[in-house]
């Protein structure tokens, strides 16, 4: 019983990280994916900050939905509550980092406000409590961890690829965003090859 659940948990983790990758298959957070461009260091900083915020907001929003909104019959307020939780969480994380690690704040600081409006955060939290496809607590944490790790991995890989792309002579019309999108298509095709694991 425990064993089967554990296997399901691990498969869900792999699936959320790679097969249903947040950027290349579920399309959350494409704006930041394209916008962060070719700077590897800022891509990684952004990714780490997103991991923090996704995991903590999933941790906080789950009890809020199940122990506050559901008993009170206010499920329809979920989006409003989640976005407020995420916005204040981002503020608090920012203050904490500023107090305890000014160096980290210096490199993460400018990305923190952007995370509030990153679809990946709200997307994961909404998925965890989507009507009809509700996930239990371990599975929603698997979703949060897997998704955010997938985000970090892909935004890092993509930034590395784009630094190389800049030095190649692409056709003029494809320079910049078009070639980046086609690269993303090839990456998405690579991940398609993994689908079927655990099915």
């Amino acid at each position: 019983m425990f064993y089967t659940y554990f296997v399901a948990f691990m498969l869900a983790l792999v699936s959320y990280t790679l097969i249903d990758n947040v950027l290349l298959s579920r399309f959350y957070g494409i704006c930041s994916f394209i916008g962060v461009g070719n700077k590897v260091k800022s891509a990684v900083s952004m990714g780490v900050a997103v991991v923090f915020v996704i995991v903590f907001s999933a941790l906080i929003c789950y009890p809020i939905y199940h122990f506050v909104l559901m008993p009170a019959g206010l499920e329809f307020l979920d989006t409003v509550v989640y976005i407020l939780v995420i916005a204040s969480l981002v503020q608090i994380v920012g203050l904490f980092i500023k107090k305890y690690s000014p160096a980290l704040y210096k490199s993460l600081g400018i990305y923190l406000p952007l995370i509030t409006t990153n679809c990946a955060v709200l997307g994961v939290v909404q998925e965890n409590t989507f009507p009809g496809k509700m996930l239990d607590f371990p599975m929603s944490m698997a979703n949060a961890f897997g998704t955010s790790l997938g985000y970090l991995l892909m935004i890092f890989v993509f930034a590395c690829i784009r630094t190389r792309l800049d030095t190649y002579s692409t056709p003029r019309a494809f320079k910049g965003i078009p070639i980046a999108l086609l690269t993303a298509a090839v990456m998405a095709m690579a991940l398609m090859g993994l689908s079927g694991i655990g099915a």
């Binding site: 704006c31 407020l84 509030t116 997307g123 078009p178 980046a180």
Partner: protein, 255 residues
């Protein structure tokens, strides 16, 4: 005065449709554009809901623009948008449940849509209610058009047919979906299922951005050529003037 006002209204309406198209020119709101463009009907539904949310939030934010303090601007906007999104979600779930299911989480994600927040910050908090309304209509139409173009290509290439009726029941004929065979029919099937997958979305969007870049580049080249021709003409004129002055000076010296 009246004329200026009218041209400003006209500009707020038209700018967002093609010249400053939110998806293809400013490259905002890419997440739903890739995710829900597998079928044309879902794209149209998303476009309508998006336009409604954008118009409502633009109007309300513009009406409240003198009341909202600058420090809490963004949270205030998010709450306003979230309210309208909640309304839209409930109405869609009740009246068009098939659309609610096919849009899924992306309906909630309208809250953090860069275009809605971007228009609030760039336009609605600086302009009047009527202009903000027109701006919402223009940008909504522009985004809907862009979604329709992508979805049209993807549905035809991905499934080989255009089918209507599975999301909007009023499009059904005699209780059955209407299907237009284009690449797939009796005995032939030229559809490429990759285009219904996520990778296909990136390919279609990337190629469309490239086509737009070609058009923009051609326009830029033409402008540059005109500018260069004008510069050459001016240089020639200046040189001729100088030469004339010099000959005049030489002639003057000879006298």
């Amino acid at each position: 005065m009246d004329q200026i006002k009218r041209s400003q209204h006209h500009n707020s309406l038209v700018a967002g449709i093609i010249r400053e198209n939110p998806l293809f020119v400013t490259v905002l709101g890419t997440c739903p554009a890739l995710a829900i463009t597998k079928s044309l009907e879902a794209a149209v539904g998303m476009g309508i809901l998006f336009t409604f949310v954008l118009i409502c939030s633009n109007v309300l934010i513009s009406a409240l623009r003198k009341l909202i303090p600058e420090e809490v601007e963004t949270p205030a906007y998010i709450v306003v948008v979230a309210t309208f999104v909640t309304v839209v979600k409930m109405v869609t779930e009740a009246f068009v449940p098939a659309l609610f299911d096919s849009l899924g989480v992306f309906l909630s994600l309208l809250v953090v849509n860069c275009i809605v927040l971007g228009r609030a910050e760039a336009f609605a908090n600086k302009n009047g209610v009527y202009d903000s309304f027109l701006d919402g209509v223009g940008n909504g139409l522009g985004y809907t058009l862009a979604l329709i173009v992508i979805a049209f290509v993807r549905e035809i290439l991905g499934t080989g047919v255009l089918s209507f009726g599975s999301i909007f029941p009023f499009l059904k004929v005699n209780g059955a979906n209407v299907t237009l065979p284009i690449l797939k029919g009796n005995g032939y099937d030229y559809s490429i299922s990759l285009f219904a997958e996520p990778a296909g979305a990136f390919i279609v969007f990337g190629i469309m951005m490239a086509i737009i870049a070609v058009i923009a580049n051609r326009k830029k080249d033409k402008e540059a050529a005109v500018k260069r021709a004008a510069a050459i003409a001016a240089a020639q004129k200046a040189a001729a003037e100088k030469a004339r002055q010099q000959t005049a000076a030489v002639e003057g010296g000879a006298h």
